[in-house]
């Protein structure tokens, strides 16, 4: 009985992160200081990234039956893993301030986050539906705990509850989808499923199964109509956790979406229209409701819903003449990289401002440029990038990169919807950016004083995001060509 041959090197990133989680937990127990846990977390990420890059091209845990391995590392998966890991580093930096002043139990926080990250790192390299759904569950469950971990905030529990219920509902539906797919094709590994898809047209049962499978993905990337939980949960959770949800958890969702659509590329006429409608509704709905928001975090929540719509556009464009391929995947990853940098940056600044001045409404950011110019310029830059308006060059370029696909494949209505959505989006990003530079009507207390210790790390996170976004703006092929680098 041959035990599955395990190539540890390939699995290294996931293992390192899982181990890191344990070490962080124990470190906090031993030293009683949350900062140490964050330190361990950062080190873990630092170690995991090179492993991820090194593992490119390998595959392991291959079973005897037609050598279907359950862990396959492709350049696409490495890119996604790197995005997840780097974003986690930034989130940890953001969170260290909360951990420092005991608003959140440091050890558990870092442990849960790293567990979730280990799942997120696992997803891109999975090669069968079973591992995929388990990994998705590994990513989601700790996040609900993270959301609820916010001491002294009654609404945190409510936020966690909403996310939890939405999650278990969508997982149950997706599991049923997997059951149906397994039922009709007799296979769960992506290679066999792809072969089955090429072999014959989708049976009604397979169609239903696949559409239901998309439920959990729609939940993870918070696409309308599976978005209900997002704004409330982001508002209820601490800002770093909200940032984590909006970037890393969504990246996991997109990885799953890429894998699923990649596998069932042969049935694209069946699922592409669904994804197209999903993308269109998400873009328009996200931007429209964002117009009306007053709270900063809620606005960012709706904005990230809209951005998720943009990221899905290339996959949606497969409904036209363009087939699913590396070109489409690169467009998605390209936008995802830029989105991660811009979005994390915006959340980082909101986190810093919320901590220092307690401001939650974006309207109260009036005259921020007067009080802390650095933060104001950074936020303005992130908002411009999210809007896709120069000087936020990378935001514009990735939108162009994403818009090429529907134009090439002739899905005109999608290109039109994206154009309109971008314009609507510009309205609220611009309104917020303007607030920063307006004259403050009453001179609030100066923001310069460092209220709490450890908030220098938050500023570092802002600086990191700014550096990344500027670098992408200057050399866009860093972001647009990320997949080809590995």
């Amino acid at each position: 009985m041959t035990i599955q041959s395990i190539d540890l090197m390939a699995l290294a990133p996931t293992l390192v992160v899982a181990l890191g989680a344990l070490v962080a937990l124990i470190a906090e127990l031993v030293t009683r200081r949350g900062q140490v846990a964050v330190g361990v977390g950062l080190v873990t990420v630092a170690v995991a990234v090179p492993f991820a890059v090194a593992a490119s091209g390998e595959q392991t845990l291959c079973s005897g039956v037609d050598s279907a391995c359950s862990y396959v590392v492709t350049p696409l998966s490495v890119a996604l893993q790197v995005i997840v890991l780097v974003s986690t580093a930034v989130v940890l930096l953001m969170a260290s301030a909360d951990i420092a002043d005991r608003r959140v139990p440091g050890g558990e926080f870092v442990f849960l986050m790293l567990c979730s990250v280990s799942g997120a790192v696992l997803i891109p390299a999975t090669n069968d539906l079973v591992t995929l759904i388990v990994a998705l569950e590994v990513v989601s469950l700790p996040t609900f705990a993270l959301v609820a971990l916010r001491q002294g905030e009654s609404r945190a529990a409510e936020a966690a509850l909403k996310a939890f219920i939405f999650s278990i509902a969508s997982v149950a539906v997706s599991l049923y989808g997997i059951a149906l797919l397994y039922g009709t094709t007799g296979a769960v590994s992506f290679d066999q499923l792809a072969a089955a898809a090429q072999a014959s047209d989708p049976t009604p049962l397979a169609t239903a199964g696949l559409v239901m499978l998309l439920a959990v993905v729609a939940f993870k990337i918070a696409a309308i109509p599976f978005h209900g939980w997002a704004p409330d949960t982001y508002q209820g959770a601490t800002v770093p956790v909200a940032a984590y949800l909006s970037v890393v958890s969504k990246a996991a969702g997109f990885s799953a979406l890429l894998l699923i659509t990649g596998t069932f590329a042969a049935w694209s006429e069946m699922w592409a229209p669904v994804v197209a409608v999903l993308a269109g509704v998400t873009m328009l709905g996200g931007n429209l409701v964002a117009l009306r928001q007053r709270l900063a975090v809620r606005l960012l929540a709706w904005s990230s819903i809209a951005q998720a719509g943009y990221i899905v556009v290339p996959l949606a464009a497969v409904a036209g003449s363009v087939a699913w391929g590396p070109d489409v995947a690169n467009a998605v990853v390209g936008y995802l990289v830029a989105y991660a940098a811009m979005n994390l940056g915006a959340f980082a600044v909101v986190a810093v401002v919320a901590r220092r001045t307690g401001i939650v409404e974006w309207g109260d950011y009036r005259g921020l440029a007067r009080r802390s110019p650095g933060l104001a310029v950074a936020l303005a830059f992130f908002l411009a990038s999210l809007a896709g308006l120069p000087p936020g060059l990378i935001g514009l370029l990735v939108k162009v990169r994403v818009l090429v696909v529907p134009v090439e494949s002739g899905v005109w209505w999608l290109a039109a919807v994206m154009a309109v959505a971008t314009v609507i989006g510009l309205a609220y990003y611009l309104a917020w950016a303007a607030q920063l530079f307006r004259q403050p009507d009453v001179d609030e207390r100066p923001v310069t004083a460092e209220q709490a210790t450890g908030s220098w790390t938050a500023v570092v996170s802002v600086a990191a995001c700014l550096a990344l976004t500027v670098a992408f703006s200057v050399a866009p092929s860093l972001a647009l060509g990320l997949v080809d680098r590995f």
């Binding site: 000087p391 309109v420 611009l430």
Partner: protein, 502 residues
């Protein structure tokens, strides 16, 4: 090309300067405006250098070309170059930028903040120059968008009246236009596989199928029409002008409007000839409606700036008419019209800005009468600019319009009679233009004379405005200065369209 460092330098110098201003501390408030003048003067010198380097003989081909690969994934290369069509516009932009800088030295509109103001002007300069020099579709689009943010801030923070709403309408309307244009560009890039304007114009564009060409042309023209502005996409212009600070209005009218028509001549006409031949008559119709509509609307306005804004809609109507003829004379007239309108309307807005500074208002209801008496020189300049703008022969405004009519008599497209009807309607537009400008002069300039109450044109105003006055007269008397540069390039463009003509 020998000195191909000129064009990138023209972009980098203002960009660096803007960066310095961004970083400079609060002390920079004092020297910010002088710094602005310095940088713009360097820009002007570089432009003169480019003018000298530019070989008139081969004005048809791209010169001073700079090329560097930037984003392979999007087929975007950082490719700059100028030819007969773009050189005059680059020169106009540098000149207006310099005049604006000189004007702001002692006249930063409230609420002050000179550092930010000059910085934004420099960013605007980069965007404008970049648009005219870009030879790559996406690069053109990027510079097209770079202009928006600075102009938005100029209107929203240094403007007057309900500036926030005006700024928002301006930027949202223009962004919608430019995104539609982007979709058009992407269609062209996807269908032809190249984003290089020179290649596309050279014949690559013609290989696109009729339907694709028509779709791409309509999309791109839609976007550019918003910028021109072509009727009925013009509603943002009057609000933007009424609320913009003086310098903002000058650059908005002087240069930003030209990006639309430049885009048409540079991109749409040579790249999509079949589509242009089919669209040309409709473009002519919209142009003439614009002329008549602009004239009549401006007659009904109650604010000086709004009158000039609508007059711009009329002038741009003539430029569009010139382009729609697709003939050598027509397109030359359009390009000349661009330059002339830039100079004259720039001067007009400077003068109106001066009036607003002295009287505090531009609304007819509250504007004091008898400017000829209260500030004779300012009154004379208002008269001079108004007369030039209504197209008095002998001044720059006339040639753009007159030759557009001559072009309309013999359009390259087959519908000759249709164009002659357009010609007559456009000519009627000229008399309406005279009507509303004389109404302005009568209402503002003349009237029961009051003594010399206001201080007349100051030294720095003279310094800033004289180039424009001189240019209006010189271009009026010797229009060949522009034509010898634009004509070879326009013949190339018309040749590429000739193939598509029946």
């Amino acid at each position: 090309m020998t000195s191909n460092w000129l064009l990138p330098a023209l972009l980098v110098v203002p960009l660096m300067a803007a960066g310095i201003l961004l970083v400079a501390g609060r002390r920079a408030e004092r020297w910010a405006t002088w710094f602005g003048v310095g940088v713009q003067s360097v820009g002007l010198l570089l432009t003169l250098g480019a003018l000298a380097e530019f070989k008139r003989g081969s004005a048809g081909s791209m010169q001073l070309v700079v090329e560097a690969e930037w984003i392979p994934e999007l087929l975007v290369d950082f490719r700059l170059g100028v030819d007969g069509i773009s050189l005059p516009l680059v020169a106009l932009t540098s000149l207006l930028g310099w005049c604006a800088a000189v004007y702001t030295v002692r006249r930063v509109p409230e609420p002050g903040r000179a550092r930010a103001f000059v910085g934004l002007l420099l960013l605007l300069q980069v965007g404008m120059l970049g648009t005219f020099m870009a030879l790559d579709l996406i690069l053109f689009f990027l510079f097209f968008e770079v202009v928006l943010a600075p102009m938005w801030f100029l209107i929203a923070f240094w403007g007057s009246g309900e500036r926030r709403r005006a700024a928002n309408t301006f930027i949202l309307y223009t962004v919608l236009g430019s995104v539609v244009m982007l979709v058009g560009f992407l269609l062209v890039i996807v269908k032809t596989g190249s984003a290089d304007m020179v290649e596309l114009a050279g014949g690559l564009g013609e290989q696109m199928s009729g339907g694709a060409q028509l779709a791409a042309a309509l999309l791109i023209l839609g976007g550019l029409a918003v910028k021109t502005p072509m009727w009925p996409f013009h509603t943002w212009l009057p609000d933007a002008h009424t609320s913009a600070p003086t310098v903002g209005s000058v650059l908005l009218a002087g240069v930003l409007l030209k990006m639309g028509t430049y885009g048409m001549v540079r991109i749409v006409v040579p790249t999509l000839p079949d589509a242009m031949v089919r669209i040309a008559p409709y473009l002519a119709a919209f142009a003439v409606i614009g002329i008549l509509y602009g004239a009549m609307a401006s007659y009904g306005q109650q604010d000086l700036k709004r009158v000039i804004a609508f007059s711009s809609v009329g002038h741009m109507g003539f430029v569009l008419l010139g382009i729609s003829t697709l003939s050598v004379v027509g397109i030359n007239a359009a390009l000349f019209g661009n330059i002339a309108h830039g100079v004259i309307t720039g001067l007009l807005f400077f003068v109106v800005g001066g009036i607003k500074e002295r009287t505090g208002t531009t609304a007819f209801a509250s504007l004091p009468r008898g400017l000829y008496a209260s500030a004779p020189r300012l009154g004379f300049l208002l008269g001079f600019a108004a007369v030039a703008s209504l197209g008095l022969p002998g001044l720059a405004g006339f040639w753009g319009e007159f030759l557009a009519l001559v072009g309309a008599y013999h359009p390259a497209v087959p519908e000759h009679l249709y164009y002659r009807a357009m010609l007559v309607l456009a000519a009627v537009g000229m008399v309406l233009a005279a009507a509303y400008f004389l109404r302005v002069l009568r209402r503002v300039g003349q009237g029961p004379g009051s003594e010399k109450t206001m201080d007349d044109v100051a030294a720095d105003e003279w310094l800033s405005w004289t180039p424009l006055i001189a240019l209006t007269v010189v271009l009026g008397l010797v229009p060949v200065l522009v034509f010898e540069v634009t004509d070879p390039a326009v013949r190339m463009v018309v040749e590429s369209v000739a193939g598509a003509l029946p």
